[in-house]
């Protein structure tokens, strides 16, 4: 957990979108000279906030290693001996093990698919001069604004009907969730990638075309490698969205062998009725939900931040 501290400055220096870069003016320089009294107050507040956020992470980790009885007696205590059973219990009997595996599969497969499907679309939308392309771009952008709950009931019913017709398990199955995650992720991924493709220099493609390479080959061999950082960012963001998805998973996934982590966490809360709450196990589950995202953020923080703010700061 302390890695956050020892390995800090995620270089989020230029969160500007990788658009056609305008001359960037820096005002690094000599503005450190005077700090007003208000400035000190502000800084204190900022650092207090930081301290609080870090405290939450540490507290979460520590609590996940404590016995439930202890936690209830003193929520802020530190265990004398780490109570690792929370994790083994949560993993084996609490259903978090299966859920973690399901979450990883659903997230990775859906993220790969959504990027694979969105990239070509984003490319033609970014580069095409057809009038139609701006209509379609608008369509995808509109999709961004549709709240998930609007789609919840219809998508659920459609999945049920599709299952009826195809005999492919759609409700209560990871493949069904993957399909939904891919479908729902399209607008954002297309929107994001279109921004990246737009920023790529045209010259290289033109050179390739003159060399006689076909459109698809240009796209796969030249454009995609160039846009690699954009693709990775899109993939990361799809991973984070997929990892956290709750509303649709809650409705679609039901049996314990098909739950993802957020749903396992909810089911764990439900179980408290009749058989008592197991706070230790619950915190172990929370750690499982949070840690992968934390690791991703420490590793690729800059890209994630850029991706989530791209196109906005222009």
């Amino acid at each position: 957990m302390n890695k956050v501290i020892t390995q800090p400055p995620l270089p989020t220096e230029s969160v500007s979108a990788p658009g056609p870069s305008r001359p960037r003016m820096r005002r690094r320089s000599s503005r450190k000279d005077r700090i007003s009294p208000g400035g000190y107050v502000g800084r204190t507040v900022a650092w207090l906030l930081v301290a609080f956020n870090l405290f939450l992470l540490v507290w979460m980790a520590v609590t996940s290693l404590r016995d439930t009885r202890d936690i209830v007696r003193d929520p802020l205590g530190v265990p004398a001996v780490p109570f690792v059973e929370n994790f083994t219990n949560a993993w084996n009997t609490g259903g978090f093990g299966t859920a973690a595996i399901n979450s990883v599969i659903a997230t990775l497969v859906s993220s790969l698919l959504v990027v694979a499907i969105s990239a070509p679309a984003a490319y033609v939308l970014a580069k095409s001069t057809r009038k139609l392309s701006s209509t379609f771009t608008l369509l995808f952008v509109l999709g961004l604004g549709v709240p998930g709950q609007v789609l919840l009931v219809p998508v659920y019913i459609m999945m049920a009907k599709f299952q009826d017709i195809s005999h492919l398990q759609m409700l209560n199955s990871i493949q069904g969730l993957v399909l939904v995650l891919v479908g729902l992720g399209i607008p954002f991924t297309v929107f994001l990638l279109a921004g990246f493709f737009r920023s790529l220099p045209v010259e290289i493609e033109e050179a390739a075309a003159i060399d006689g390479s076909s459109g698809i080959r240009t796209f796969i061999q030249i454009v995609l490698p160039l846009a690699r950082s954009g693709l990775v960012t899109a993939f990361m963001l799809a991973v984070i969205t997929g990892w956290n998805e709750t509303l649709f998973s809650l409705v679609l996934l039901t049996t314990s062998e098909n739950r993802t982590l957020p749903i396992a966490l909810l089911a764990f809360l439900d179980q408290a009725q009749f058989n008592g709450a197991d706070w230790g196990g619950l915190f172990a589950g929370i750690v499982m939900v949070v840690t992968p995202v934390l690791a991703l953020f420490i590793w690729l923080g800059r890209r994630i931040v850029e991706g989530m703010t791209v196109g906005i700061s222009k």
Partner: protein, 316 residues
């Protein structure tokens, strides 16, 4: 809905296409449909069709099992009369405006503070992080930290507060939810606004400084107007995300396996409860109708906000 942030058809002018259509252009044309199709089909399947279907469902009464009956606008009439639904709309608006405005003020404050602060990237990263976590986690944390015998009250007792506020009391619950939202959203918007502010050339500030402008004046006359576009985009983003708030409320107010108190419901909660709530009655029609209302809400609000913010931008 408005088209934020997306520089439509930028770079190349779609004004006069034919004239110099190169080989590359032609091959792109050929690839247009095949490359676009899969995404477009999914878009139709997961957005267009469901929205139309939701519209149809909202005119029917259906429990998912028996025959569907067409009842016209009755569902909407029922919603208009349902105090819980009205409450959920009010809560959503509270999230949009109260949480939104406070978050923006904080985000701007932090931007100003962080401008020339040591370790600003680190601070920004730490504050950004909550955006990436499933909000459910915070709901569980809050229940724990703010319980009557919990850590927060224990700390307050150390400072001499004998009678701490009733954090999780029923009529306080929604306020707590809003506070948690402000806390988790501030980092995200700070990051966006900072990146915009970072692009404001330094000489504007220097010039303002020469004119004798203090920090507030600089903020008012340089930062704010120059970052206005980003702010209006942020406002649209916030509108969209505020209508979706779900996990946090589901877990925050809810005790085990029961629905959270109706006083905390947002429109997303209402939609979910009407269709899949643990009460038993499955009312897909009502659920679809409330979903349609929230779609209309987000559309109207987005357009309205865009209009409003655009006008103000000119006034400055």
């Amino acid at each position: 809905m408005a088209t934020p942030a997306l520089p439509l058809a930028r770079g190349r002018n779609s004004g006069r296409p034919r004239a110099g259509m190169s080989a590359i252009e032609r091959s792109r044309r050929r690839l247009f449909w095949p490359m676009l199709m899969p995404a477009l089909i999914l878009m139709a399947l997961f957005y267009l069709v469901p929205i139309i279907y939701a519209g149809w469902l909202s005119l029917n009464e259906w429990d998912g099992i028996n025959q569907m009956t067409f009842i016209g606008a009755d569902n909407y009439v029922r919603l208009a009369k349902d105090p819980v639904f009205i409450g959920s709309i009010i809560n959503t608006l509270k999230i949009l405006f109260i949480v939104g405005i406070i978050t923006f003020v904080f985000a701007f404050g932090l931007t100003m503070i962080l401008r020339d602060m040591m370790g600003k990237k680190f601070v920004r990263s730490v504050l950004f992080f909550p955006t990436l976590i499933n909000a459910m986690v915070f709901g569980i944390f809050a229940g724990f930290l703010f319980s009557p015998a919990g850590p927060v009250n224990k700390l307050l007792l150390l400072v001499g507060v004998q009678d701490p506020p009733k954090w999780l009391a029923q009529d306080n619950l929604f306020n707590m939810i809003m506070i948690v939202m402000i806390w988790s959203a501030t980092g995200y918007f700070t990051t966006i606004i900072m990146s915009a502010v970072d692009q404001i050339p330094a000489y504007y500030y220097e010039a303002a400084g020469l004119d004798g402008a203090g920090p507030w004046a600089k903020f008012r006359h340089v930062t704010l107007p120059l970052a206005w576009d980003v702010i209006s985009v942020c406002a649209v983003l916030w509108t969209m995300s505020s209508v979706k708030v779900f996990e946090l409320i589901l877990v925050f107010g809810g005790s085990t396996a029961k629905a959270p108190p109706t006083s905390t419901w947002s429109t997303a909660l209402y939609v979910y409860q009407a269709a899949f709530g643990s009460g038993g009655d499955r009312e897909f029609g009502i659920s679809a109708a409330s979903a349609i209302v929230s779609l209309i809400l987000v559309t109207v609000l987005t357009i309205g906000l865009r209009r409003m913010l655009r006008r103000e931008a000119i006034e400055i």
